[in-house]
C-alpha cells in the first residue's frame, strides 16, 4: 500500500531542550512500539525527566508509545528537567506522621512546653481527651489510607514540596495542640451539648471522607491510571457526589469545623479556614478538568460546596 504503515514504520526522534531549544539528542530507527522510557537519559532517574510534544505542554507519560502519539516519521520531543523528585507516598507519610506525634507531645505535656509544674500532668477536661482521640484518629486514618487506599496518578512531586507541606501540617498541629492541651484551656461555652454535637459532625464527616476515598479507589482498577466520572454508590455517604465533584474535600472541611466547635479554639478555626481555601482551589481545578475531559459531566455538581462553591 502507498500509505505509511504506522505499525511498522521506523521513526527518527530528536530531543530538544524545552527552554533553550538546543538539540540534546537524536535517535534514529526507533520502532513504533518503543515507549518514552527508552528516550530518557539514563544519567538521571526517569521520574525527573519530562518529555513533551510541546515545550509548554503537558508531560507525556512513560507508557505512551510512539505509534499512539500524533507524530509523523520524525518526532520532536521537548525535554525538561523537573528537579529533584520525591515520591508522593513518602511525602504523605511524613507530613501526616508529624502531626500525630507532635500533638501527643503537647497532650502528655512533655517538659519545656508549659511550666515545669505541669510536666506530664493530665487535663481535667473530658473534651481535651476527646480532642486527642479525634485528632490522632484523623491522622492514623490518613496514614492508613495513604498506604492501602489511595491510588496516585503521579509517582513523584518536586522535593521542595516536602519542606513546604511539613511546615504547614507540623506547624499548625503544634499551634493547635499548644492551646487545646494548655493548663489554662477553657472548655466550650455550651458544655457537653456543644461537644456532643461537634463530635457527631466530626464522626459523620470522617466516615463520609473515608467512603469517598473508597469509592474513588474502586473507580480505578489496580495499576491503571484511567480516569472516570465518580457516581454515588449504595453507600449513603457517597450520595454527596450528586451535588459536588470533590465530596472528600467537603467532608474534610466538615471534620475540621466539627473539631473547631468541639474545642472552641481559634487556631483550629484558622487552620480549617486555610485548609478550606486550599481545598477549594484544588476542587475547582479538579472540577474544571472533569468538565474538560467528559462531555456528559453532571451539570448539577459544584466543586466543593453544594449549590454554592
Amino acid at each position: 500500500s502507498k500509505h505509511p504503515d504506522p505499525l511498522h514504520t521506523l521513526r527518527e526522534v530528536e530531543i530538544l531542550d524545552a527552554k533553550t531549544r538546543e538539540k540534546l539528542c537524536f535517535l534514529d530507527k526507533v520502532g513504533p512500539e518503543h515507549g518514552l522510557h527508552w528516550a530518557k537519559d539514563p544519567q538521571w532517574y526517569p521520574a525527573r525527566q519530562s518529555l513533551r510534544l510541546d515545550p509548554k505542554g503537558k508531560s507525556l507519560k512513560d507508557e505512551d508509545v510512539l505509534q499512539k502519539l500524533p507524530v509523523g516519521t520524525t518526532a520532536t520531543l521537548y525535554f525538561r528537567d523537573l528537579g529533584a523528585q520525591i515520591s508522593w507516598v513518602t511525602v504523605f507519610l511524613t507530613e501526616y506522621a508529624g502531626p500525630l506525634f507532635i500533638y501527643l507531645l503537647f497532650y502528655f505535656r512533655v517538659p519545656f512546653i508549659y511550666g515545669h509544674k505541669y510536666d506530664f500532668t493530665s487535663s481535667r477536661h473530658t473534651v481535651v481527651h476527646l480532642a486527642c482521640i479525634c485528632h490522632s484518629f484523623h491522622y492514623v486514618k490518613r496514614l492508613l489510607e495513604t498506604l492501602f487506599v489511595h491510588r496516585f496518578s503521579h509517582g513523584t512531586m518536586p522535593l521542595r514540596n516536602i519542606f513546604k507541606n511539613c511546615t504547614y501540617y507540623w506547624g499548625f498541629a503544634a499551634w493547635m495542640a499548644y492551646y487545646i492541651n494548655h493548663p489554662l484551656y477553657t472548655p466550650p461555652t455550651y458544655g457537653a451539648q456543644q461537644v456532643k454535637l461537634a463530635l457527631a459532625i466530626f464522626v459523620i464527616c470522617q466516615l463520609g471522607n473515608f467512603s469517598i476515598h473508597m469509592a474513588l479507589r474502586d473507580l480505578r482498577p489496580a495499576g491503571s491510571k484511567t480516569r472516570k466520572i465518580p457516581y454515588p454508590t449504595k453507600n449513603p455517604f457517597t450520595w454527596l457526589f450528586l451535588l459536588v465533584s470533590c465530596p472528600n474535600y467537603t467532608y474534610e472541611v466538615g471534620s475540621w469545623i466539627g473539631f473547631a466547635i468541639m474545642t472552641q479554639c481559634l487556631p483550629v478555626a484558622l487552620f480549617s479556614l486555610v485548609g478550606f481555601t486550599q481545598m477549594t482551589i484544588w476542587a475547582k481545578g479538579k472540577h474544571r478538568s472533569y468538565l474538560k475531559e467528559f462531555r456528559d459531566y453532571p451539570p448539577l455538581r459544584m466543586p466543593i460546596i453544594p449549590f454554592l462553591l
Binding site: Y179, I180, H182, Y185, T186, Q264, C265, L266, P267
Partner: protein, 257 residues
Amino acid sequence: MAAAAATAAAKGNGGGGGRAGAGDAVRGPGRRPDDLPREAHPGRPGSDGERRQPRWLVIAVGLVRAYLAKGSYHSLYYSIEKPLKFFQTGALLEILHCAIGIVPSSVVLTSFQVMSRVFLIWAVTHSVKEVQSEDSVLLFVIAWTITEIIRYSFYTFSLLNHLPYLIKWARYTLFIVLYPMGVSGELLTIYAALPFVRQAGLYSISLPNKYNFSFDYHAFLILIMISYIPIFPQLYFHMIHQRRKILSHTEEHKKFE
C-alpha cells in the same frame, strides 16, 4: 501612543485633586492635625504617577516647611501625620493596579512593600505615641518620600513614552542608599516601640479566654524585625540585578544611536 496619551489624559483628574490638597495641607506645625483638610475624592481614577506624585511632594514640602518654621524636626511627625497616613494607606490600591495589570510591577513585591509601610505607619508609629518624636521616624519618611517621588516620576514619564535617562538612572541607583536608610529607620522605630508595647500589653491577648487563643504583640514585633534579615537582602539584590539588566540595556541602545 495615542491610546497611552488618551489614557493618561483621562486619568489626569486625580493629579489635579492632589495639587489642590497640597496648597492647603502645608501650613506648618502650628496647625493641629485635625485642621488639615482631607482629600475629597480618594477613589478618583488616575494613573499612578500623575495622581500620587503630588502627594509625596505634599509630604516633602510639609517636612521642609515644618523644619524651617520650628527650627527642629521633632514635631515633624504631627505636620505630616495625616497626609502620610492617608496617602500611604491609599497605596493599597497599587496592589490592585499590579493585580489587574496597569502597572508592570509584581503583585507580590508590591504587596510586600505596601503592607510593610502600612504596618509601620498604623501598627507602630500611630499606635505607639511615644515613638513619634524619634529621629528614626524622620529617617524612613524621608527615604520613602524621595523613593516615591522618583518612582512615580518614572511611571508617569514611562506612560507618556518619554522617559528621561536621568529618571531611570535615579530610580535604579538611588535605592542603593535609600533602601538601607529606610530599613534602618523602620527597624529603629520598631525597636524603640518595644518597651512601650510590652508595658501597655498593646494588641496582646493572654490565656485564659473563651477562644483559647493568645497573641503577644511584643514577640510579634521582634519576629518582624528578624524577618528583615532574610527579606531585605533579597529585595535589595533583586533591585541590583534589575539595575544591571536595565541600565546596561540602555547603554547598548545608546551605542546604536
